[in-house]
């Protein structure tokens, strides 16, 4: 009998309860699911259709008659050969590769600072969240003004340099790139901070104390307990930011219009310009579809990792 007690396992899963709750959950979300299906799936089907044609609104026919201008996969092959597309794509990936890690590290750093209570924490917390609440277009305009040749950034640099500094940030391809990235980091670090702080606060206090009593230093505890237990939250935060950042448009467009030249032209700006200026909607549909599929793959991967972590406890 002792052996049985010593090896007793945890409770088995309650199948009937889970089945019932899943059924209820499904029926409750059904109306919303149908709506999303309509709003999301229908336009995608429309988009696939148009991407296989050479249609433009100037052609004088309604979109559902675009089959008259069928050109098969011509748009897709054009896409592959389109240098401007690839450079915009590359530029977008570069932006993402700089912004997201920067936002993550800064957000993590802030979360570490905010995890323990200190006087004024509540107030400072609200202040730090403000950038996230600013309308992105407005943020773009703010940074546009900040980075003017006679603007505040140059004024501050002049102060430290000792002599007047009149860098034309937004007219220089490299400096403009830096400026738009700065605006994104400023605006979205708070989101990372918010999510990561929530994850960090959820790490059980007792486990941290137990680790301390076992002799673990702060960095050891951070590495072995805090970060592993934040795995799911980190994946969510990164997935959200990667997908959103990839689509960045408002502030970049307002700051630089994608320029100078195409120095800050991200994929969204590229699509917008091609649509507005060249009006080749069929082609644009193909481009947008390719982007959609790539981003879907990323989020599918993130969701899979999330559910794996959840099962592991």
């Amino acid at each position: 009998m002792t052996a049985d007690i010593l090896e007793a396992k945890a409770e088995p899963v309650e199948h009937e309860d889970t089945r019932d709750s899943r059924r209820l959950g499904f029926s409750l979300t059904l109306p919303a699911q149908l709506l999303i299906l309509f709003i999301a799936v229908f336009p995608i089907l429309m988009q696939i259709y148009i991407s296989l044609t050479d249609w433009s609104p100037l052609d004088g026919i309604s979109w559902w008659q675009a089959h008259q201008l069928w050109n098969g996969f011509a748009n897709y092959t054009d896409l592959v050969a389109d240098d401007r597309f690839w450079s915009a794509l590359w530029r977008t990936v570069l932006v993402m590769a700089i912004c997201v890690p920067a936002e993550f590290l800064l957000g993590l750093g802030l979360a570490i600072l905010f995890v323990d209570n200190f006087p004024g924490r509540g107030f400072l917390y609200s202040v730090l969240l403000v950038p996230m609440m600013v309308v992105p277009a407005v943020a773009g305009y703010m940074f546009f003004m900040l980075f003017q040749s006679g603007g505040p950034v140059n004024d501050i640099l002049s102060f430290f340099y000792g002599a007047p500094v009149t860098i034309a940030w937004l007219s220089d391809p490299d400096l403009a790139f830096f400026a738009v990235i700065a605006s994104d980091i400023w605006q979205w670090t708070p989101l990372m901070f918010l999510i990561l702080l929530a994850g960090m606060v959820g790490v059980p206090e007792d486990q941290l104390r137990a680790a301390t009593l076992l002799g673990a230093s702060w960095t050891t505890r951070f590495r072995t307990i805090v970060l592993p237990r934040m795995k799911t939250i980190i994946i969510i935060a990164l997935a959200i930011r990667v997908i959103e950042n990839f689509k960045v448009f408002d502030n970049f467009y307002i700051m630089t219009g994608g320029g100078p030249g195409v120095a800050t032209e991200t994929i969204s700006i590229y699509i917008y310009k091609v649509t507005q200026q060249e009006l080749i909607w069929g082609y644009v549909a193909a481009v947008a579809l390719v982007i959609l599929i790539s981003l879907s793959v990323v989020s599918a991967f993130a969701i899979k990792r999330m559910s794996q972590s959840r099962e592991a406890g």
Partner: protein, 350 residues
């Protein structure tokens, strides 16, 4: 007519058989205890009675009628949860009235039922308080009142007092017994604490891995267990199970003489409860001396742990005898109080 009955009920969860072909009857107004180690099927049986689970095979009967297909809401069986689950934002009175208000009864119908249950449980003076203002015992009584106000056929409790302090547990189990006695309602009570089970129950069902090993009154099962398993489940420290010597009436190679005790045919082991294992420490015992391994004075009794021939035995001696570890003592069986078991662990009568 039995209040609750199970006929050949089996319940599976995936590959695990939680409850395996069990049958038993609970009489009207009985305090019936389901007792066993964790995962022996006790909670599953409660859920089958409540209707939260349906049997895969067999029938569950309440008041003589099969209820396999009756939903929990219509079965008229009430449950008092371990954490009592009193609504914190309502007063005690509102809590007690809640089940009837739920059923859309009119105030005229509700009032006398509530008054009846309030009187039986002596909670009239605390009705206006909220659960946070009540003591643990008062909260328990309000929870029971709420369960009973529907006038159920039976009420169920799943391990209600294990989370309490030791001292409070001892007092509350007496209180629960008194309440059940006064109310005269069938109570099905789950616990894994053998002393608690023996104290409160009219009858106990001892479970192992989803099977009922024995059902009976506490003293019956204690004095006449039908197997080594049941013998080991009741009583603490557990019954000592010792191999009988093949050639003479003794056990432990002569350390435990069994003169005057009839050993039934086919018996391979003798079971002696610690309180029946007499320890002679003044010298002059009939058997071979045995070494004392450990002495645990509990105040009112002393637990003496002995080692002999690779087995560990425990004796419960009254009071505070002066026995030292590593000293030698002699053993005997008090008043011929022993059980015998065969090779399969089944009890044999002399």
């Amino acid at each position: 007519m039995a209040s609750i009955a199970f006929k050949n009920v089996t319940k599976r969860f995936g590959d695990t058989v939680a409850v395996d072909n069990i049958s038993f009857e609970i009489a009207d107004n009985e305090f019936f205890c389901l007792f066993g180690p964790p995962l022996s099927g006790k909670t599953t049986i409660l859920k089958l009675i409540l209707g939260l689970e349906r049997p895969d095979e067999g029938e569950v009967l309440i008041d003589g009628k099969p209820v396999n297909h009756v939903s929990p809401a219509r079965r008229n069986v009430a449950m008092v949860f371990q954490n009592l689950a009193l609504f914190p934002h309502m007063t005690a009175e509102e809590n007690v009235r809640f089940p009837l208000v739920e059923r859309k009864m009119s105030s005229d119908e509700i009032a006398p039922r509530v008054a009846d249950v309030v009187e039986k449980l002596h909670i009239g003076h605390i009705l206006h308080k909220s659960p946070a203002q009540l003591s643990g015992g008062e909260r328990q009584r309000v929870a029971i009142a709420r369960a009973l106000v529907r006038d159920p056929v039976a009420y169920l409790m799943d391990d209600p007092i294990s989370a309490l302090d030791a001292r409070l547990r001892e007092e509350t189990r007496v209180e629960l017994k008194r309440i059940q006695h006064e109310l005269g309602r069938t109570l099905v009570y789950v616990t894994h604490d053998q002393e608690e089970a023996m104290s409160v129950a009219d009858r106990i069902a001892v479970l192992e891995n989803g099977v009922i090993r024995q059902v009976g009154a506490p003293s019956d099962i204690y004095d006449n267990p039908n197997s080594a398993y049941v013998a080991g489940m009741l009583g603490a420290p557990a019954m000592n199970l010792i191999d009988l010597d093949p050639d003479r009436p003794s056990a432990l190679g002569g350390a435990l003489p069994l003169e005057g005790i009839t050993v039934p045919a086919g018996a391979t082991k003798i079971g002696i409860r610690p309180e029946d294992l007499t320890v002679g420490y003044d010298g002059g015992g009939a058997g071979k001396p045995v070494e004392v391994y450990e002495v645990e004075p509990l105040g009112g009794v002393t637990i003496v742990t002995l080692q002999s021939e690779d087995i560990t035995l425990r004796a419960m001696v009254r009071g505070q005898p002066q026995i030292r570890p590593s000293s030698e003592v002699s053993l005997s069986v008090a008043n011929g109080q022993a059980c015998f078991f065969n090779g399969q662990g089944e009890a044999l009568s002399a």
